[in-house]
């Protein structure tokens, strides 16, 4: 049985029908020595589950992950907060403050050992005893250590919690580290992203509530969301394969939505869901809005700058060509050994060029 699961939820999961569930309740009513009139109350109790208590702590962060959380559409953040979990301690949205909140925090830990979910947003500074992030008069590192000890699981929310994030970028003046370097034995789920896509964040929480810890990769990221590179699912991928690239911002290719690889796109090395889920129900993602991906969910991506510098040459699929050699072919130079796929791409690129010439719209 999952933590906090109701009887009805458990039976449903085991494909027990509603009729059989009610029979079970009737049997229980008898077993409890209650009169038949008490049946509705027993049914209600079996249906009303105690929600899993959740603690959400904040270290060195910008609160962008909280903002991402409340932007989730499917599921809605309100449905998660009011229906699926009991978010007992969260500084950003919770009503309580100060000593009352601190006391409640300790009560939840004492009352639900091994049962509460601990969400942690932000990096954990450890230089000089961690005095650069004090909460309730104590270093956040100490608070994280204590809360993680008896948590059912810990979720590191965002690239700061998962990898250390921006404050851990060189020269890391606060000695910030990832959550994984602080906590002991509790199961850890990393949900990187700066911030994570809202539905990746809530989807992972929902997975935990409904099915337990999701399948994870070697970096403890849910495989469901971090199994593919953005490049693999990018809607501009066809232009990469065809050798059609944005050469400068706002040029012809930029207006036509061609591949952003040459202006620094990190899609080929970024594992995230931007290409398939996109942001906000498929509305957009940076690449769709003309901005090269910065791989904000990648480990230590802040120190892979400058961001407008292109990645090293990547061979085009099924060819020995690269983005540059395809460009040369398109410009009229010759290249031996281009495979059929590449030639087709070249032909397509050339058709565009010729069309532009006819219309007097050469690239600047």
């Amino acid at each position: 049985m999952h933590i906090g699961e109701t009887l009805w939820a458990l039976l449903k999961r085991r494909s027990v029908s509603r009729r059989d569930f009610l029979k079970t309740c009737a049997a229980l009513t008898g077993a409890f020595g209650l009169p038949p009139a008490a049946l509705p109350a027993v049914v209600a109790a079996a249906e009303t589950k105690p929600l899993p208590p959740v603690i959400w702590l904040h270290g060195h962060e910008c609160t962008g992950c909280d903002e991402a959380f409340i932007r989730s559409q499917k599921p809605l953040a309100s449905d998660i907060v009011l229906n699926l979990i009991s978010l007992e301690d969260m500084e950003v949205l919770g009503a309580a403050a100060g000593e009352a909140l601190e006391r409640h925090h300790h009560e939840i830990i004492a009352q639900y050992p091994g049962k509460y979910l601990l969400l942690f947003e932000g990096a954990v500074p450890v230089a000089d005893g961690g005095v650069s992030c004090m909460v309730g008069g104590k270093p956040i590192a100490a608070k994280l250590r204590a809360a993680a000890q008896s948590a059912a699981a810990v979720v590191a929310i965002g690239s700061c919690a998962a990898w250390g994030g921006i404050q851990a970028a060189r020269p890391n003046p606060t000695g910030s580290v990832a959550v994984s370097e602080i906590i002991g034995s509790a199961p850890l789920i990393n949900i990187p992203g700066c911030p994570p896509i809202p539905e990746v964040l809530t989807g992972a929480i929902m997975h935990y509530v409904l099915f337990g810890v999701p399948p994870l990769d070697s970096k403890r990221r849910p495989l469901q969301f971090f199994g593919n590179r953005i490049h693999d699912t990018c809607y501009r991928r066809a232009f990469f394969d065809s050798g059609m690239f944005v050469e400068n911002f706002d040029d012809k290719g930029a207006k036509a939505g061609w591949c952003l690889y040459k202006v620094g796109c990190r899609g080929p090395v970024a594992y995230n869901q931007c290409g398939s889920m996109r942001w906000w129900n498929g509305l957009s993602y940076p690449i769709q809005s003309g901005a090269p991906c910065v791989a904000c969910a990648a480990d230590n991506f802040w120190d892979t700058d400058p961001f407008y510098q292109r990645l090293p040459n990547i061979n085009l699929p099924n060819t020995v060509a690269t983005a540059d050699t395809i460009g040369l072919v398109a410009a009229g130079a010759t290249l031996a050994g281009v495979a059929a796929h590449g030639l087709l791409s070249v032909a397509q690129h050339r058709r565009h060029k010729e069309k532009d010439r006819r219309e007097g719209k050469d690239d600047e």
Binding site: H58, A127, S176, K255, S289
Partner: protein, 628 residues
């Protein structure tokens, strides 16, 4: 006398601790300190990076007022490199800024501030039928009949008016009851719901406001759909030095921006107008009116003494900020300082603040006498010559890592103390409104439509409350009210620039980026620039120095540095502290009033707790410092 500590301060961005001494007999706060309890050192992280990337890093100062630092950052780098952005990019940035302001203010009112006024527990006593009647009455009475210059009215009719049916309020009440009776209060746990102030509002107002709290939690995202269209994501949409990355084409569905994509942004902007006119403003004024009638207009602090703004919304593109060109066609000329507004608008004193002033150490400087940093010599420093040397001194009582009380006579915060001509100043929507109102009423401005709307709003609210502006504005209530009014103006500003964008594209101009100087080979060896922005929380400035195509120094003076700063030995208490000193606390161990006053500033601390650096010395400073 009782010394009370509120730490963590909740429903804010970042980490804030408040300590206040309360005279239990009189309920007065006799001493208060505000401490930013975290610093992340991001200016140090920015050192030696490519200036074209600066906005990416700077944007991470804050994810709540997400994007404001990116805007200030690209403006600073463009100011340094002499880059003028295309018209469309200016319109798009203004749309992003205006919609951000609407959304940020709405989230603040409903999700960060409302629970100080409104109680889900009290909502259980409401009559759902009476709540429906009240909803309609509020819309009739408090919806300000003002509108901006909306030329292209693309919305056929209001799509999002609040529901006022009995069934709707009954359902919400039933849901809230289930939560309360389950004993698992979740977000509402452990709060002082028995505080007497919650009894000031009728139960129906509580139910109505709690319903809208939930409505807006679900809908606030739609207010910033324009960020997705133009910047690809939110929080932290993407920008570009020289303009915007979202190329425009009216002939290609694959283009980042085309007519269909513009329609998505437009729908979102229209929703913003309705969310403010049908939800936010009526709710705000209905609650505010009740509080004003009870005489609860404290928490002003130095708002009536000194307020500061930097100006926003260039109507057309401009050629630099430090050279004053930015200030030539602003729609919101809130740049300036107003002294003594509490004595009446006629006698308030206005001082200009524009381009050259931002580079003048006599006008803008920061001190560290009560902040955990040390300077090489006594006195304040202009941000250009700022120095970083963290000097954590621990608390007055307790240990370095287990505080009991901080030391108001010594250092007690990771926030520096910024000053205007040696004085402390409050920034934010209230400051902007005081400045514009003073300038217009004193005949110093021929108002733009934005400025005229602001004056009309203030006069309309004064009529509703039956109080003159200098009485209701420089208070906790006025701070919250001006934020709501500014959301209304900002919603129309978003629409105004959307119209201009559409018109300009229709005229054949699709340029969105000026890449003539994108390549560092086109840059001077050394350059410096200023970027400013009226962020939702107030005046924001970024200063950048570029040497050999790298960032040599990067500094930000942000709204919360102005408002949350520790005291200055000569200039007195910071705005948070001063506001607390002007506040009564009814129940010392349930200091709800402290939450109310501090939340009325919409605190946002992560950006305030940063480091400053002397040019070129930063690495040495860090390496030799025991706290690095």
């Amino acid at each position: 006398m009782k010394r009370i500590v509120v730490d963590p301060m909740n429903r804010i961005e970042g980490h804030l601790r408040i300590e206040a001494v309360v005279d239990e007999a009189g309920g007065r706060v006799t001493e208060a300190l505000s401490s930013g309890t975290a610093w992340r050192g991001l200016e140090l992280v920015l050192q030696n990076r490519d200036p074209r990337d600066a906005w990416l890093y700077a944007q991470r100062f804050c994810g709540v007022c997400t994007t404001v630092h990116a805007l200030a950052s690209v403006r600073a780098v463009e100011d340094a490199l002499g880059i003028a952005i295309p018209r469309n990019a200016n319109y798009i940035r203004n749309i992003i800024a205006a919609t951000q302001t609407v959304q940020d203010h709405i989230i603040h009112f409903y999700h960060l501030h409302a629970l100080d006024w409104v109680s889900p527990v009290a909502a259980l006593k409401a009559d759902p039928a009476a709540t429906g009647v009240l909803q309609n009455a509020i819309l009739e009475k408090y919806r300000l009949p003002l509108a901006g210059p909306v030329e292209l009215d693309t919305a056929a009719f209001p799509h999002n008016p609040p529901r006022a049916t009995v069934a709707y309020f009954r359902d919400i009440q039933a849901k809230v009851r289930r939560i309360v009776e389950s004993g698992q209060l979740g977000l509402f746990a452990a709060h002082w719901w028995d505080h007497p102030d919650y009894a000031l509002l009728p139960p129906e107002v509580h139910l109505l406001a709690v319903s809208h709290y939930l409505n807006m939690l679900d809908r606030q995202r739609e207010l910033v759909d324009a960020h997705l269209i133009f910047g690809g994501k939110n929080p932290h949409p993407h920008y570009l030095v020289g303009g915007m990355p979202c190329a425009i084409s009216m002939s290609d569905m694959n283009a980042p921006v085309n007519s269909q994509r513009l329609a998505v942004a437009d729908t979102s902007i229209n929703f913003g107008i309705e969310a403010v006119n049908y939800y936010y403003l009526p709710d705000l004024l209905a609650i505010g009116h009740i509080y004003a009638q009870k005489g609860m207009t404290d928490g002003g602090g130095i708002a009536g003494k000194v307020v500061l703004g930097c100006g926003e919304y260039p109507d057309e593109t401009y050629g630099g900020i430090a050279n004053n060109d930015y200030y030539k066609n602003l729609l919101l000329r809130s740049n300036g300082v107003v002294e003594n507004f509490a004595q009446g608008v006629a006698v308030a004193k206005y001082h200009d603040l524009a381009g050259a002033d931002l580079a003048d150490p006599a006008i803008v400087a920061e001190g560290v006498t009560h902040a955990w940093y040390s300077y090489p010599q006594p006195g304040d420093l202009h941000p250009w010559s700022g120095v970083t040397k963290p000097q954590f001194t621990g608390p007055k009582e307790g240990t370095r890592t287990d505080w009991k009380f901080l030391d108001e006579t010594g250092k007690y915060s990771w926030v520096k103390t910024p000053k205007w001509r040696g004085r402390l100043a409050e920034v934010g929507p209230l400051a902007r409104y005081i400045i514009v109102y003073t300038k217009v009423k004193q005949g110093l401005l021929q108002p733009t439509w934005v400025e005229k709307m602001i004056v009309d709003q203030i006069d309309a609210v004064s009529a509703v409350l039956g109080l003159p502006p200098h009485v209701w504005m420089p208070t906790m209530l006025g701070r919250t009210a001006c934020r709501g009014l500014e959301a209304q103006v900002s919603a129309y500003i978003g629409k105004y620039f959307m119209d201009k964008l559409v018109k300009n594209i229709r005229n054949g101009d699709t340029a969105v980026a000026n890449t003539a100087k994108f390549d560092p080979a086109a840059w001077p060896k050394e350059a410096q620039g200023v970027g400013i922005h009226e962020a939702p929380r107030g005046a924001l400035g970024h200063w950048v120095t570029i040497k050999n195509a790298r960032i040599a120094n990067y500094q930000a003076v942000v709204p919360s540095t102005w408002n949350a700063c520790p005291r200055d030995d000569a200039a007195g208490h910071g705005p948070y502290e001063a506001a607390l000193l002007a506040t009564r606390v009814k129940v010392a161990d349930k200091p709800l009033e402290i939450l109310k006053v501090i939340h009325s500033f919409d605190p946002c601390l992560a950006c305030a707790t940063h480091l400053y650096n002397a040019d070129g010395e930063e690495v040495a400073v860090v390496r030799t410092d025991q706290y690095a």
